[in-house]
């Protein structure tokens, strides 16, 4: 049983997606338990895989017993085991936290929603675990297609935003496919391990250079690196909260992982960071992404759109950290994939709760919310502190690694951009705290008496928290931010340091 875990982690959610559709026809109440059971199995598999690859072991699973390069192999190594756990746990927690919201948002489409949900998780888990370049494309499209549909099931403007995402997402995926095609022409292989063995002999070839660049460009579009980010903010803002809090924490992070896999594993770091000489320019793109993402977040008047632009900035962190090309930078980049998934989940779940209660996410309607929804706002503030990078939350530690990577590489502009973005985040989140805490009364100007009655009424109906089923998972995620922060040392020494190829100092 145990040696089949890498196959089970993908096949169980894949097959149960079909079962959910069928169950939806019979009885809508069956969908949720099946979905949660399938994601639970994935989570269990991912955690036991994490335990078994800790301290640098590698598991290679050949599907159907076909040895690579003929068959598709699934690989679990220190680079992807953490991302695997992050994807599985975000999907698992989010499905519990949004149960009530889904029931109210899509009363007739529960079966369809959970089918897409589980397929989306399957796609992302598959991208992370696969060891085959073409299989990665197929799973990328599974995740993307279900993502388009989930994002399209939202408010009035959601379909248009989602269609925009389809156009850009398709261009991105097609570029990646083209790159894989060129790699196949040059090497005759699609297996990542096999590719990395064949490629060094032909690194001088222009075909390989083109394949590398076009693969990266495709992934940059998919991860919404700054000039290619146009699809992200609208798609995430207008979608319904259960879909956003699933897709926003995961999509960009998994694409960053795919970039890590291509640059570090399929190609050698010496080639990616040295021979072709583009690392410097990509770090500069990342710097611009961080600055622009932060500035555009500053200009927003709605929580969801603000958080979407923060994601654009965070993508800049991870891309920049990788392309610094040193140990601290790459450690920070890998660590930030997990931390950012947790932070974004926390923030979007909190926003989901706020929208569930107040039906809006604009700043003007947050007044007095800190008193009405103390737990939700508490978790939101904790997530905000983590994005800012306040110790002991996890955001501090990955930012610390990124900054020390920037200093070690002598890239002071990157360090400055990180500090600038932290300062902007301070402004962003303290503005919300201010609105939520210090402006509790709606009618300041309407006279003294009303103010007092308002206060009395305010004291009576103090707490209007979202239902317990939504708040408890959120509080757990918020606690997890601190837990991840405290565990940073263990994560780095027992897993991440083995993920970085030897020869990078």
């Amino acid at each position: 049983m145990n040696q089949h875990l890498p196959a089970i982690i993908v096949t169980v959610p894949l097959l149960s997606a079909f079962v959910i559709t069928a169950a939806g026809w019979l009885n809508k109440k069956l969908c949720f338990p099946i979905a949660i059971a399938a994601l639970g199995v994935s989570l269990y598999c991912s955690i036991s895989l994490l335990i078994s690859v800790a301290s640098g072991k590698i598991i290679i699973y050949n599907l159907g017993g076909w040895a690579p390069p003929w068959g598709i192999s699934y690989t679990v190594d220190p680079l992807n085991c953490l991302v695997l756990v992050a994807v599985a746990s975000v999907a698992f927690i989010n499905i519990i936290a949004t149960k009530k919201n889904v029931e109210e948002e899509y009363p007739d489409k529960i079966g369809a929603f959970y089918t897409l949900y589980v397929l989306f998780a399957t796609g992302l888990i598959g991208i992370v675990i696969t060891g085959d370049a073409f299989n990665l494309y197929v799973l990328l499209e599974i995740a993307a297609l279900t993502g388009y549909a989930l994002l399209g099931m939202g408010s009035r403007r959601a379909p248009l935003a989602s269609l925009n995402y389809i156009f850009l997402g398709t261009i991105g995926a097609c570029f990646y496919l083209l790159g894989v095609g060129y790699l196949y022409i040059a090497t005759g292989s699609l297996n990542m391990k096999d590719l990395s063995a064949i490629l060094p002999a032909i690194y001088h070839s222009k075909t390989i250079l083109f394949a590398f660049i076009i693969c990266l460009t495709g992934l940059f579009i998919k991860m919404a690196l700054f000039p290619m980010h146009a699809w992200l903010p609208n798609a995430y803002t207008y979608a319904s909260s259960p879909a956003t809090s699933l897709i926003a924490p995961l999509t960009t992070k998994v694409m960053v992982y795919a970039m890590l896999r291509i640059t570090l594993d399929v190609f050698t770091p010496q080639y990616s960071f040295g021979t072709i000489g583009i690392s410097h320019s990509i770090v500069w793109i990342a710097i611009i992404a961080i600055i622009m993402g932060s500035l555009m977040a500053l200009a927003q008047r709605g929580l969801k759109k603000m958080l979407s632009y923060i994601i654009v900035a965070e993508v800049g962190y991870m891309v920049g950290g990788l392309w610094l090309g040193n140990r601290a930078g790459i450690t920070g980049s890998i660590l930030h994939i997990i931390n950012d998934a947790a932070m974004t989940l926390c923030l979007f779940l909190a926003v989901g709760n706020i929208i569930y209660k107040t039906k809006t996410d604009s700043f003007d309607d947050l007044k007095g919310l800190l008193k009405k929804m103390p737990l939700t706002m508490g978790a939101f503030i904790l997530g905000g502190l983590s994005i800012i990078g306040v110790p002991p939350t996890c955001g501090f530690f990955s930012k610390w690694y990124l900054i020390s990577g920037g200093l070690a590489a002598g890239h002071y502009a990157f360090v400055a951009a990180l500090l600038f973005s932290s300062l902007v985040n301070v402004v962003l989140f303290f503005r919300i705290i201010e609105i939520g805490f210090f402006e509790p009364f709606k009618e300041h100007v309407s006279g003294h008496h009303e103010c007092i009655t308002d206060q009395i009424a305010g004291n009576r109906i103090m707490i209007e928290e979202a239902p317990a089923g939504m708040v408890i998972p959120l509080v757990i995620v918020a606690g997890f931010l601190i837990f991840l922060g405290l565990m940073t040392g263990n994560i780095v020494t027992s897993i991440i340091q083995f993920a970085i190829p030897a020869g990078i100092s």
């Binding site: 388009y148 379909p159 248009l160 095609g181």
Partner: protein, 131 residues
């Protein structure tokens, strides 16, 4: 000059796919009608499918099947004559993906039409700005 012509002609399959790719990209960027954009997207995907299929072409190649001569009972086809079947198989998957993408895109286009009563992008934006 002759070198250039022979360079272009000898690699004509690549030129074809690049031209198709650019047509698709152009339609996606420039066209105002959403359905035209969707068609552009489909051309874009098809160009890559053609690229994959064209790289496996072999002159006077044959299908990768076992051919037994009825008289002598020996295997007559030579492996060197086989057309590489792998790109074709990969593209079967890519075709399925592009059909699914098209389906979702059209479904969203229907939803957009119900919402705004038009598929022209500028008219939709005008309606959004009015609100």
């Amino acid at each position: 000059m002759e070198d250039v012509i022979s360079f272009v002609i000898s690699k004509y399959n690549y030129w074809c796919y690049i031209v198709l790719l650019m047509i698709g990209l152009y339609a996606m960027i420039v066209k105002n009608n959403l359905v035209k954009k969707i068609i552009g997207m489909n051309i874009f995907q098809t160009a890559i499918i053609l690229f994959y299929v064209s790289i496996s072409v072999k002159k006077e190649g044959t299908l990768p099947t076992i051919i037994i001569d009825p008289v002598t009972g020996t295997h007559t086809a030579r492996a060197a004559d086989y057309i590489n079947p792998l790109p074709h198989v990969l593209m079967l998957t890519a075709i399925v993906v592009s059909v699914a993408t098209l389906g979702i895109a059209l479904a969203l286009a229907i939803k957009i039409y119900k919402e705004y009563d038009t598929l022209e992008e500028d008219e939709i934006f005008a309606q959004i700005r009015k609100k």
